[in-house]
């Protein structure tokens, strides 16, 4: 592989611009998802949601951000200070760096140079995402442990158990996609979905893996929701019965970082689901718009589900993860393998 210094200058500039744009866009989506979530849930519960700051509360995320910066930041007296400060970052950073391998559109050509609409194309892209997503668990355990609070410690352990069990099922669910596309690179997976549908009678359909792998798609979306702690699987914070679990002792901007991470993870899961199962940037509109529509669709679905279903119990959560989703995902792999080999 070429080192970075061997690359021409325009490449480095394009790289930096891409990183900046993706980072800012993800941050903006994260900020405004909080607003959209409050609005949508508000209307679903026959109330209005935020209305005061700006038109229909449009400036609410900015006001919230300002408020959180000026709130008192409390660190418990016996807390492990370094870990306590490090933990929110350890959750936030993996959430953001996973975006690096997601392709947002087809390669664009500027003045004879080909610029891929993706920060970097790893040939083990999906493996990288799974590895980085796994790092978030460390942040949660660390936050619970560093708080010097029994509730937080137990909350952290519970949450890590939850995330690990769903990560397994989610990882197993998408193995079927790799078997069909024969690559781990997200760019390659998108390219594979742009080919003709394998069954001639259904060739009017795009070759999106949602059609050939509906079970894997459902499993991935459900497990993804559980992994990023979205309702109905928001047991880590379960504000009514657990008093915030692992982040009980957190306040001010540190607390907000956990929620930024949660929403950033939402974006990532939505983007991965769109890339793996809905053809990524493939679709009727120009590249980037397609994937944005798909991401927003998933985000809306997550919010919609939050407004609809009540939270599951912890034993139900574990039961579903280990005894339903994991076996289903494994069975799906076996069947997909048989089809791929014997077709």
């Amino acid at each position: 592989m070429l080192s970075l210094s061997d690359q021409p200058l325009w490449f480095l500039v394009a790289m930096l611009v891409k990183i900046l744009v993706v980072f800012v866009v993800v941050l903006l989506i994260v900020a405004y998802t909080t607003w959209v979530e409050r609005k949508v849930i508000g209307h679903m519960q026959t109330r209005l949601g935020p209305m005061e700051t700006g038109w229909h509360g449009l400036l609410q995320p900015i006001a919230d951000g300002l408020k959180l910066f000026f709130k008192e930041d409390i660190i418990p007296s016996e807390a492990s200070k370094v870990s306590f400060i490090l933990a929110p970052m350890m959750i936030l950073v993996p959430a953001f760096i996973t975006v690096a391998v997601i392709p947002f559109g087809p390669d664009i050509v500027v003045g004879g140079y080909v610029i891929p609409m993706q920060i970097t194309d790893l040939n083990v892209g999906m493996l990288y995402i799974l590895a980085m997503a796994g790092l978030g668990v460390y942040g949660i355990v660390l936050a619970g442990w560093a708080s010097n609070s029994k509730y937080s410690l137990l909350g952290g352990l519970r949450s890590s158990a939850q995330m690990v069990s769903y990560e397994l099922a989610a990882g197993m669910a998408i193995v079927a996609v790799f078997m069909l596309s024969e690559t781990l690179s997200l760019k390659g997976i998108v390219a594979a979905q742009m080919q003709e549908f394998p069954i001639a009678a259904l060739s009017f359909l795009p070759n999106w893996y949602i059609f050939s792998q509906p079970l894997a798609f459902c499993l991935f979306v459900i497990c993804g929701m559980a992994e990023i702690n979205r309702t109905p699987f928001d047991l880590p914070e379960a504000e009514t019965e657990l008093v915030s679990g692992f982040c009980t002792e957190y306040s001010s901007m540190k607390y907000a970082l956990f929620f930024m991470a949660e929403y950033a993870n939402m974006v990532v899961i939505a983007a991965i689901a769109a890339t793996l199962f809905l053809g990524g940037w493939d679709g009727p509109f120009p590249g980037v718009i397609n994937i944005l529509i798909k991401i927003f669709g998933f985000m809306f679905f997550f919010i919609w589900v939050r407004a609809t279903v009540p939270r599951v119990r912890y034993d139900q959560l574990m039961y579903m993860g280990w005894k339903i989703f994991l076996p289903l995902a494994l069975a799906n792999i076996v069947i997909t393998g048989a089809v791929v080999v014997f077709w």
């Binding site: 209307h43 679903m44 026959t46």
Partner: protein, 131 residues
């Protein structure tokens, strides 16, 4: 299970469509209270003074014991309440005082914004009740 899930989703989606919100933007927009709503009390004035004849029926019937009346006689020999006080911190807005009053001197209004900063401000004297 899936059927119920989809049913639930459709219900919440129906509520998302415009025209369902029932929020009242309170300080900007107020609902009309019902006519028989029991808010702040009012002493009914009659010509130059209050209608009240200081018969002590309202403090007697009051279950919260929040009404203080002291009677006196004016120059014409009519009884009138020299002191008439309602402690709103104790009042339960049951309206018994209104029912008990033989001369309809006390009534309940629709005023419901009764928050205040000091305990003293919740003592409604005769002058305040006549307003």
């Amino acid at each position: 299970m899936l059927k119920e899930f989809i049913k639930g989703l459709s219900i919440t989606f129906k509520h998302l469509l415009p025209g369902h919100s029932t929020t009242v933007q309170y300080p900007k927009q107020r609902l009309q209270t019902a006519e028989r709503f029991r808010g702040l009390h009012r002493l009914v004035p009659a010509h130059d003074r209050e209608k009240c004849v200081a018969c002590y029926l309202c403090p007697t019937v009051c279950p919260a014991k929040c009404i203080t009346v002291e009677s006196a006689e004016n120059a014409k020999g009519e009884k009138y309440p020299r002191v008439y006080k309602i402690d709103l911190l104790r009042c339960i807005f049951c309206g018994y005082c209104v029912e008990a009053c033989p001369v309809e001197a006390i009534e309940m209004t629709g005023t419901y914004e009764l928050a205040n900063f000091k305990r003293d401000d919740f003592t409604f004297t005769k002058e305040r009740l006549l307003k």
